[in-house]
Each structure stands twice: as structure tokens, then as C-alpha cells.
Symmetry: C2
Subunit: 251 residues, 2 copies
């Protein structure tokens, strides 16, 4: 199934025609190897993008080389609100695994969405969830210590992967993360992340052969003080609220 569709279904059951419209939008599908730039900082964004497969990061680079990962983009994630206005991107987006990325020109995207209230309402939910993830990341980095930050991040990623059917809650979830990626996400040095992850391995929380695997999500959540309400999994459609352009005729 389409990755975005799978994600939005956590919020509403889309009527068949809306599903069809979502999948049928004119788009370009691109395979990208790991480490490629999807959007570069300063570029004007004129298309919406959807991650179909693989992982990407949003990141900012400081002049002296320090890097901050703003968040991780997983299958089913759409970006970017910035496509709504004609402005230069304030951050870059880059693949960290082999990816399949779908992109749709802004006007076409909006006209499809505006014709389908259920779609637009689901996309609002998606935007609210994304903002929630951003806010929680601020809390993570600002007020938690190393093991809490890492545990919280890992648990969030697992939760989000499960949401789109990209991970099985029963299995140890594998994450394609290097120490350096984790470090740049949670604001630590890669060697301190290495030490902390080693400690977590000794505690039986994760395994670290080839990929990082989550062995004990419950303990992870409790160490992290994880509270999932920022993911808005409880949200239910209010009225019909459109994510809309003003040009096409209103269906």
C-alpha cells in the first residue's frame, strides 16, 4: 500500500475516491541512494514530497561544521509546509538510506486535496503530528540527559514505524542509525553516544550487531519518560476541514 495512505489511515478511513485521488496525483517517483540531497538549504520549494521507502533527515549545518538533525523522515511522511509559500528552504533534506521519494507539484497537490475534505482533514492531522514531534524534540534535547534522549528518540522512531506498518510491534525493530546520526539528532558527541549505547546494550535494551535493534521497548519508554500524546494518535475528525488552495473549483 502507499506509504502516505497507510499513515493517514491512523487518523481517518479515507473514502475510496479520496484514496484513489491521493494515489493518482501526477507525480515523479525517484530512487535515491543513501547520502543524497533531496532539498538543499536555500532552495525554493515548489513541490510536496512523500517518502515512499527509506529514511531521510532534515538538518541544519552551522558555519563551523556543527550539524543538527531536526528530525527523521520515515516512510509515509509528507513535506513541506514551506511549499505553501514562495520562500527559500531554511534547512536541508538528505537521504540516510536508499530511498524512494514521490514528489507532486504544489498546485496539483493542493487542487486534489481541496477536492477531498477527508484528505485535507487527514493532512492537517499529519501537520499537527509533525509539529508535535518537533516540540517534543525540543524537550528531549533541552531537558533530558544522554540515556533519556537516546531512549526517547529510539522509542519514538519505533512507534512511528509501527504506525505505518514498517515495523512489527512483536519483533525487535531495526533502525538504520549510526552513532553520529544519533549524536547530531540529540545534541551529543558521537563518542558519548557510543558509550551510552554500549551501556544500553549491557542493560539489554538494544542489540548492536549490524543494525541497532530495539530489544526492550517497555524499559526504553520508562527510562525515557515517554508519553505518546504528542503523536495525537487519539485525534478524531472534527468537522470537515480542508487543506486547500483557492484556485480550483470547489467540489
Amino acid at each position: 500500500m502507499d506509504a502516505l495512505l497507510a499513515r493517514l489511515k491512523n487518523y481517518v478511513d479515507l473514502p475510496r475516491p479520496s484514496e484513489a485521488a491521493l494515489i493518482g496525483m501526477p507525480h515523479v517517483l525517484k530512487q535515491m541512494p543513501r547520502g543524497k540531497t533531496i532539498i538543499s538549504e536555500g532552495e525554493v520549494i515548489r513541490r510536496f514530497h512523500v517518502i515512499q521507502k527509506g529514511w531521510a533527515i532534515r538538518k541544519r549545518l552551522l558555519e563551523d561544521g556543527r550539524r543538527q538533525i531536526i528530525n527523521f523522515l520515515l516512510p509515509g511522511d509528507v513535506f513541506d509546509l514551506q511549499a505553501m509559500i514562495d520562500s527559500k528552504s531554511d534547512h536541508g533534506i538528505e537521504t540516510i538510506t536508499l530511498c524512494e521519494v514521490r514528489s507532486i507539484p504544489t498546485p496539483e497537490f493542493l487542487s486534489v486535496v481541496s477536492a477531498h475534505p477527508a484528505l485535507s482533514s487527514a493532512l492537517w492531522w499529519s501537520a499537527v503530528q509533525e509539529e508535535g514531534i518537533l516540540r517534543e524534540h525540543i524537550v528531549r534535547v533541552g531537558r533530558r540527559n544522554a540515556i533519556e534522549r537516546i531512549s526517547h528518540l529510539l522509542f519514538e522512531l519505533r512507534r512511528r514505524l509501527i504506525l505505518t506498518g514498517n515495523a512489527d510491534p512483536e519483533d525487535p525493530v531495526a533502525l538504520p542509525l549510526s552513532r553520529q546520526l544519533i549524536a547530531d539528532a540529540v545534541g551529543l558527541s558521537s563518542v558519548h553516544v557510543s558509550r551510552t549505547v554500549s551501556a544500553m546494550r549491557r542493560m539489554g535494551l538494544v542489540a548492536t550487531n549490524a543494525h541497532l535493534r530495539i530489544l526492550d521497548p517497555e524499559s526504553l519508554a520508562s527510562i525515557a519518560g515517554f508519553d505518546s500524546h504528542y503523536l495525537h494518535l487519539d485525534a478524531r475528525p472534527l468537522g470537515q476541514v480542508r487543506f486547500n488552495d483557492g484556485r480550483g473549483s470547489m467540489a
Copy 2:
């Protein structure tokens, strides 16, 4: 002039009828003393809010009392996207000075906005700017040291105040911030903030009588490595893009 209007004018010149519609929305205007809760964590949000006067904070509290300020809400700021979906707020909002807050029920807000493309486009800009501020806050907290964090925050606040005519670029801007507020915003302890601010005073960057005043914004910006493009001050309207509900008839 209306605070929100003043802010949106940085993006578009709203046509008279749109201005009138914005100001004329059915609303409640509330005076609130310092330290009052506008929205509490867990509450379902059914109204949009606009800060008319004063300052507020978005914050998250951890179980053990640690507090993280997610961002500052200044005159002209609108919140919250979360009003678009029927879900519990994942954070609290609280005044930190005497405030005047306007609130509009979601459906009324949306129907006015959907009738005015220029308004909806301006509100998209506002949402994009807010997301940019959130992202930059992550970089600030994740990858900058104490003096950089504080300088960056102060400079951003000054810039935003100037944007809405709440500060004069020529004068030393005064900010109603305690050491503790700064600490909880940038993820430090209040005593370390105190030390750092004292150092900044000795460097001639700020004054600290009664209120914190910014004396030397240029040096502040250069210490902080401040780059304003995340505020999207360069953005210009693309097509007509609506911020829309799907219930009312489309004007």
C-alpha cells in the same frame, strides 16, 4: 493597529475587506495577569488564539518538575494548528506578563479565512514562520553553547518584536525575561544563565537593570551566528493558497 494584522503585513498587504474581516471576526477579548494558564496540557483546543498584548510561553513539564519552554508567543502570534483537529493539546500555554488575548472559535475563524485568499495565504506564511522558529530552537539547544544560545534567543526575540512594531530598532529593546525563563527556554540551569548573562553585561552586550535590555544587537548576532532566513522575511505570495474549512460555502 491589530497585532496580528501588523504581523501579517510583513508578508502581504491585505486588501481592506480582508483586513476588516480579520478584525471583525466574532471573538472574546480577555485580559490576563502574569502567570495564568491560557491553555492547559491535555485540554481539547476548539478556538484560535491571538496574542494582542504581552508575552506568553508554550511549555512542557516533565513528571519530575523539569520544565522546557518550547517557544515564546509575542503580540501578533496566532495559535494553534492543533485547533484544526479534535485532539488534546500536547503542551501548555501560559502568560509571563500581563496579556490581552483574543480568541475565536475554530469554525468562525476558518470560515472567515476561507473567504479571503489573501488572509489564508498570509496565515500559511505565519505557520511556516512558526515552524521555522521551532526548528531553529532545536539547533540552538542542540548545537550551541551557553552564550550562543542566549544571544541567539535574545536576537530572535528582538527581531520578532521589531517585525510587529513592538520594538524600535534604534532603541535598546527591553525583554521581560527572568533568568529562569531563559534557562528553561535554552536548556540550561538558571545559575549558569545568570553567570553567562553577567558576562554578557560585562561585554556590553546587554544591560540588566529592572529589565533585560539589548544594547549591542550586532555583536549579539555575530556571537550567536544568527542567520535570519528561518523567519522567512523574504517570502512573497505564490498563488492564492487558502487556509480553509470545507463546510461554509466558498465565497
